[in-house]
């Protein structure tokens, strides 16, 4: 079973990487981009039957730093 973990910076946490991407897009002539926020996608290949609680614990204990980041779990069959 695969689980995709999307880790994103919380609102209000400065994202210099997103800012740099935004500037680069503008430099390429793409106007109308209001804001860019960059995050991470972590793909886990886990044993079938791994509980949601376990995946959530992985996120809280390591994959995301909940002081500054949110995470979302998407299970893929």
């Amino acid at each position: 079973m695969k689980a995709r973990i999307f880790v994103t910076l919380k609102g209000g946490v400065l994202d210099p990487q997103g800012k740099a991407i935004h500037h680069a897009l503008e430099g390429l002539g793409f106007s109308g981009v209001n804001d860019v926020r960059a995050g991470k996608l972590i793909e886990l290949d886990v044993a079938d039957g791994t509980s949601d609680e376990d995946i959530d614990a992985m996120c809280r204990k390591l994959l995301a730093n909940t002081v500054i980041e949110n995470y979302r779990i998407e299970k893929v069959a």
């Binding site: 946490v13 400065l14 994202d15 210099p16 990487q17 800012k19 740099a20 204990k61 390591l62 994959l63 730093n65 002081v67 500054i68």
Partner: protein, 224 residues
């Protein structure tokens, strides 16, 4: 006095920190590998050095904070041992929960590597007792992720409890309230981005950092 310096794969200031410990205490610190699960008995002082532990994978300090040795560091800190985390060491201490908040990418996006002006905010701590309150000093910084972040309630509490040890005296990385170094609640754990161990000898160009180590050792000897 017993001291130790933790060594992670990717640490690169571990030897400088060991030299600083030895210079002021006269004894060599034990160098402790990240896979070790025990520290020497009755350890008094633990250094968590700068560098790029585990290649900064996932987040700076994230992997190191979960390494076996950090549980031993947490136990020693609980017991009252002094823990000094510098640069990547500060990141490791926030990631491990020994200090609040987090260190974000520098606001300007650039790696900052230069001497910076600092002010000593709290000169009462074990780490800063040899400085005067409000004293201006200069330490080098060399980091990409030094932008200290915590929510307003945490920042207010840190300030209210005198736990901001050092602040930047100039714009460096976008740190909340110009915080350069903070203490834990009991005052025996300090995390800081600037490098005191790089300014302890006249040959380094400055000696501002030496008093931090001298104050620590003095306090430890008085404690015995």
């Amino acid at each position: 006095m017993k001291s130790a310096v933790i060594v992670f794969p990717g640490s690169n200031c571990d030897r400088d920190l060991a030299v600083a410990f030895e210079a002021v205490s006269g004894t060599k610190p034990a160098m402790i590998w990240h896979r070790d699960t025990e520290l020497p008995d009755d350890i008094d002082l633990i250094g968590v050095p700068g560098g790029f532990s585990y290649g900064d994978y996932l987040r700076s300090g994230a992997m190191a904070a979960r390494s076996p040795v950090m549980q031993a560091v947490a136990r020693a800190a609980e017991r009252g041992a002094y823990v000094l985390g510098i640069c990547n060491g500060f990141q490791v201490l926030t990631e491990s929960g020994l200090l609040p908040g987090a260190l974000l990418r520098n606001a300007g996006g650039h790696f900052v590597c230069r001497d910076v002006a600092l002010t000593v905010d709290n000169a009462q701590s074990a780490f800063t007792s040899r400085y005067d309150a409000g004293e201006a000093i200069h330490f080098p910084v060399a980091h990409h992720d030094g932008n200290y972040f915590a929510d307003d309630a945490t920042l207010d509490r840190l300030e209210g409890e005198g736990r901001v040890a050092l602040r930047y005296g100039e714009s460096v990385n976008g740190s909340a309230r110009n915080i350069a170094g903070i203490l834990n609640e009991s005052g025996n754990v300090l995390g800081m981005m600037p490098h005191p161990e790089r300014v302890i000898e006249p040959a380094h160009g400055r000696t501002d950092g030496r008093r931090l180590f001298e104050g620590l050792v003095e306090g430890l000897l008085a404690r015995v």
